[in-house]
């Protein structure tokens, strides 16, 4: 029982930080969901997940070689 309580507290600590993204205006359930995943990624996508609860979110989508001398990072919104 105590183990369950500890796990619940740990989960609350990790996942309890609130909404996603900026957009910033809403607190929908989508923004509050737990952070587990099993990203598969395609050949050029770096999902960047490797062990640990926090690392289970996918890494940034990418195109191109990991060793490319030039990296273009795009911050964007679909709207």
């Amino acid at each position: 029982m105590s183990t369950l309580l500890v796990l619940a507290a740990l989960a609350a600590t990790i996942f309890g930080c609130g909404g996603a993204g900026g957009g910033g205006s809403s607190n929908s359930s989508r923004q509050q969901a737990s952070e587990t995943s099993e990203p598969s990624g395609r050949k050029s996508e770096d999902t960047g997940s490797s062990g640990g609860i926090a690392a289970q979110q996918p890494g940034p989508p990418t195109l191109g070689s990991a060793g490319a001398p030039v990296v273009l990072t795009e911050y964007s919104d679909y709207k």
Binding site: Q31, S37, E45, T47, Q57, P61, L63, P69, L72, E74
Partner: protein, 140 residues
């Protein structure tokens, strides 16, 4: 991203493009980003990304996002589970916070090595910055 840049620089290994979500235009922006990450989990991020841009004026209702997923050829059961549970909201949130931490306050914002470009730019601007960054990276 401009297909010409992909052909000119990504295919030959010069350029790597990294996407960061910066959904600051309301809940539909956030939902679209979360849906795209669900597509990423199935290896179809860029296909879904392109559909979002092609259809951005039709809005990003749940119905539309689901329709795009179908069009992208996703496993619909898995997509709906991931989207409805916001399984990948954390990744979107992390991107947004990272952007805020480095001063991003509008989109699109591009960072090419250490050069920042804000807003849409002519293709030639990107080419010049990429060429400069390549020369610098190669020690020239």
């Amino acid at each position: 991203m401009e297909p010409k840049l992909y052909r000119e620089y990504v295919e030959d290994g010069t350029l790597r493009i990294e996407w960061r979500d910066f959904p600051y235009r309301g809940q539909e922006s956030v939902n679209a980003a979360v849906a795209a990450r669900a597509a990423q989990a199935q290896g179809r991020f860029w296909e879904y990304h392109d559909l979002l841009y092609e259809n951005q004026f039709s809005g990003f209702s749940d119905e539309n996002l689901t329709s795009f997923a179908r069009e992208a050829g996703l496993d619909m059961r898995r997509f709906e589970e991931d989207y409805e549970s916001a399984r990948y909201a954390g990744a979107v949130q992390a991107d947004f916070r990272e952007g805020q931490s480095i001063g991003v306050n509008g989109t699109p914002t591009f960072i090419i090595n250490d050069q920042v470009l804000v807003g849409l730019q002519p293709i030639g601007v990107f080419e010049n910055v990429i060429e400069d960054a390549r020369r610098e990276a190669e020690g020239g």
